[in-house]
Amino acid sequence: PEEVTVTDITINSLTVTFREAFVARGFFRSWELE
Protein backbone atom coordinates (compact mmCIF):
# COMPACT_ATOMS: atom_id res chain seq x y z
CA PRO A 1 0.00 0.00 0.00
CA GLU A 2 1.13 3.53 -0.76
CA GLU A 3 0.23 4.97 2.61
CA VAL A 4 0.09 3.47 6.08
CA THR A 5 -1.03 5.45 9.12
CA VAL A 6 0.80 4.63 12.35
CA THR A 7 -0.83 5.43 15.69
CA ASP A 8 0.23 4.58 19.24
CA ILE A 9 -2.51 4.00 21.84
CA THR A 10 -1.79 3.73 25.57
CA ILE A 11 -4.14 2.26 28.19
CA ASN A 12 -2.99 1.44 31.73
CA SER A 13 0.65 2.04 30.77
CA LEU A 14 0.50 -0.49 27.94
CA THR A 15 1.26 1.18 24.62
CA VAL A 16 0.47 -0.64 21.42
CA THR A 17 1.07 0.48 17.85
CA PHE A 18 -1.64 0.34 15.20
CA ARG A 19 -0.87 0.51 11.49
CA GLU A 20 -3.71 1.11 9.06
CA ALA A 21 -3.69 0.99 5.26
CA PHE A 22 -6.33 1.89 2.68
CA VAL A 23 -6.00 -1.48 0.98
CA ALA A 24 -5.35 -5.02 2.16
CA ARG A 25 -3.20 -6.20 -0.76
CA GLY A 26 0.45 -5.53 -0.14
CA PHE A 27 -0.32 -4.95 3.53
CA PHE A 28 -1.82 -8.20 4.80
CA ARG A 29 0.67 -11.04 4.66
CA SER A 30 -2.03 -13.71 4.94
CA TRP A 31 -3.83 -12.38 1.85
CA GLU A 32 -0.64 -12.32 -0.14
CA LEU A 33 -0.19 -16.02 0.56
CA GLU A 34 -3.58 -16.95 -0.93
Partner: protein, 125 residues
Amino acid sequence: PSSEIELIFCPHPLLVNNQQYSQTRYVKTTANATVDHLSKYLALRIALEDSQSETQANRNMEGEPGATSNSSLQDVSEKQFTIYISTTGGQFSTLNGSLTLELVNEKFWKVCKPLELFYAPTQDQ
Protein backbone atom coordinates in the same frame (compact mmCIF):
# COMPACT_ATOMS: atom_id res chain seq x y z
CA PRO B 1 7.88 -9.35 21.66
CA SER B 2 4.24 -9.96 20.92
CA SER B 3 3.18 -11.44 17.57
CA GLU B 4 1.28 -9.40 15.04
CA ILE B 5 -2.44 -9.63 14.31
CA GLU B 6 -4.12 -8.59 11.06
CA LEU B 7 -7.60 -7.12 11.38
CA ILE B 8 -10.41 -6.23 9.02
CA PHE B 9 -12.51 -3.72 10.82
CA CYS B 10 -16.01 -3.00 9.42
CA PRO B 11 -19.02 -0.93 10.54
CA HIS B 12 -21.66 -3.15 12.21
CA PRO B 13 -24.11 -3.97 9.38
CA LEU B 14 -27.21 -3.66 11.60
CA LEU B 15 -26.26 -0.91 14.06
CA VAL B 16 -24.42 1.56 11.85
CA ASN B 17 -25.98 3.75 9.22
CA ASN B 18 -24.05 3.43 5.92
CA GLN B 19 -23.70 7.18 5.64
CA GLN B 20 -22.31 7.41 9.18
CA TYR B 21 -19.21 5.24 8.84
CA SER B 22 -18.76 3.29 5.66
CA GLN B 23 -15.05 2.64 5.70
CA THR B 24 -13.59 -0.84 6.00
CA ARG B 25 -10.30 -0.53 7.85
CA TYR B 26 -7.26 -2.72 7.31
CA VAL B 27 -5.28 -2.70 10.52
CA LYS B 28 -2.25 -4.46 11.98
CA THR B 29 -1.32 -4.43 15.62
CA THR B 30 0.34 -6.61 18.21
CA ALA B 31 -1.50 -9.55 19.79
CA ASN B 32 -1.22 -8.03 23.27
CA ALA B 33 -3.53 -5.13 22.29
CA THR B 34 -6.89 -5.27 24.03
CA VAL B 35 -10.36 -4.58 22.68
CA ASP B 36 -10.23 -1.32 24.67
CA HIS B 37 -7.09 -0.30 22.77
CA LEU B 38 -8.94 -1.00 19.54
CA SER B 39 -11.96 1.01 20.64
CA LYS B 40 -9.79 3.97 21.64
CA TYR B 41 -7.86 3.76 18.39
CA LEU B 42 -11.07 3.85 16.40
CA ALA B 43 -12.44 6.85 18.34
CA LEU B 44 -9.21 8.75 17.70
CA ARG B 45 -9.02 7.93 13.99
CA ILE B 46 -12.65 8.82 13.36
CA ALA B 47 -12.29 12.06 15.34
CA LEU B 48 -9.25 13.04 13.28
CA GLU B 49 -10.94 12.18 10.00
CA ASP B 50 -14.11 14.08 10.95
CA SER B 51 -12.03 17.05 11.98
CA GLN B 52 -10.11 16.98 8.68
CA SER B 53 -13.37 16.80 6.71
CA GLU B 54 -14.73 19.73 8.67
CA THR B 55 -11.59 21.78 8.00
CA GLN B 56 -11.79 20.97 4.31
CA ALA B 57 -15.46 21.99 4.23
CA ASN B 58 -14.57 25.31 5.89
CA ARG B 59 -11.87 25.91 3.30
CA ASN B 60 -14.30 25.23 0.48
CA MET B 61 -16.94 27.55 1.92
CA GLU B 62 -14.67 30.44 2.82
CA GLY B 63 -12.15 30.12 0.04
CA GLU B 64 -9.30 30.22 2.52
CA PRO B 65 -7.60 27.78 4.91
CA GLY B 66 -9.76 26.94 7.91
CA ALA B 67 -8.53 26.02 11.35
CA THR B 68 -9.16 22.63 12.87
CA SER B 69 -11.78 22.92 15.58
CA ASN B 70 -10.20 21.59 18.76
CA SER B 71 -13.51 21.63 20.58
CA SER B 72 -15.17 19.43 17.97
CA LEU B 73 -12.18 17.08 17.97
CA GLN B 74 -12.47 16.70 21.73
CA ASP B 75 -16.20 16.08 21.49
CA VAL B 76 -15.84 13.40 18.87
CA SER B 77 -12.85 11.71 20.48
CA GLU B 78 -14.98 11.17 23.57
CA LYS B 79 -17.32 9.07 21.49
CA GLN B 80 -17.03 5.43 22.45
CA PHE B 81 -17.32 2.39 20.26
CA THR B 82 -18.37 -1.16 21.04
CA ILE B 83 -16.55 -3.93 19.22
CA TYR B 84 -18.35 -7.04 17.96
CA ILE B 85 -17.40 -10.33 16.34
CA SER B 86 -19.62 -12.38 14.06
CA THR B 87 -20.59 -15.78 15.46
CA THR B 88 -22.47 -18.71 14.01
CA GLY B 89 -25.97 -18.07 12.67
CA GLY B 90 -25.30 -14.46 11.72
CA GLN B 91 -25.27 -13.29 15.32
CA PHE B 92 -22.88 -10.74 16.75
CA SER B 93 -21.16 -11.02 20.12
CA THR B 94 -19.98 -7.99 22.04
CA LEU B 95 -16.32 -8.27 22.99
CA ASN B 96 -15.24 -7.42 26.51
CA GLY B 97 -12.81 -4.51 26.57
CA SER B 98 -10.22 -6.35 28.64
CA LEU B 99 -9.81 -9.22 26.15
CA THR B 100 -6.56 -9.26 24.21
CA LEU B 101 -6.77 -9.67 20.46
CA GLU B 102 -4.70 -12.84 20.82
CA LEU B 103 -7.44 -14.30 23.03
CA VAL B 104 -10.19 -13.13 20.68
CA ASN B 105 -8.34 -14.80 17.81
CA GLU B 106 -7.99 -18.08 19.69
CA LYS B 107 -11.45 -18.12 21.26
CA PHE B 108 -13.69 -16.85 18.46
CA TRP B 109 -11.86 -16.83 15.14
CA LYS B 110 -9.62 -19.90 14.96
CA VAL B 111 -8.89 -19.59 11.23
CA CYS B 112 -5.75 -18.44 9.46
CA LYS B 113 -7.29 -15.32 7.99
CA PRO B 114 -7.33 -11.69 9.12
CA LEU B 115 -9.50 -11.32 12.21
CA GLU B 116 -12.82 -9.75 11.16
CA LEU B 117 -14.36 -7.38 13.70
CA PHE B 118 -17.27 -4.91 13.63
CA TYR B 119 -17.79 -1.59 15.36
CA ALA B 120 -20.72 0.63 16.32
CA PRO B 121 -21.07 3.67 18.58
CA THR B 122 -21.77 2.51 22.14
CA GLN B 123 -25.54 2.52 22.63
CA ASP B 124 -25.85 4.22 26.03
CA GLN B 125 -24.03 7.44 25.07
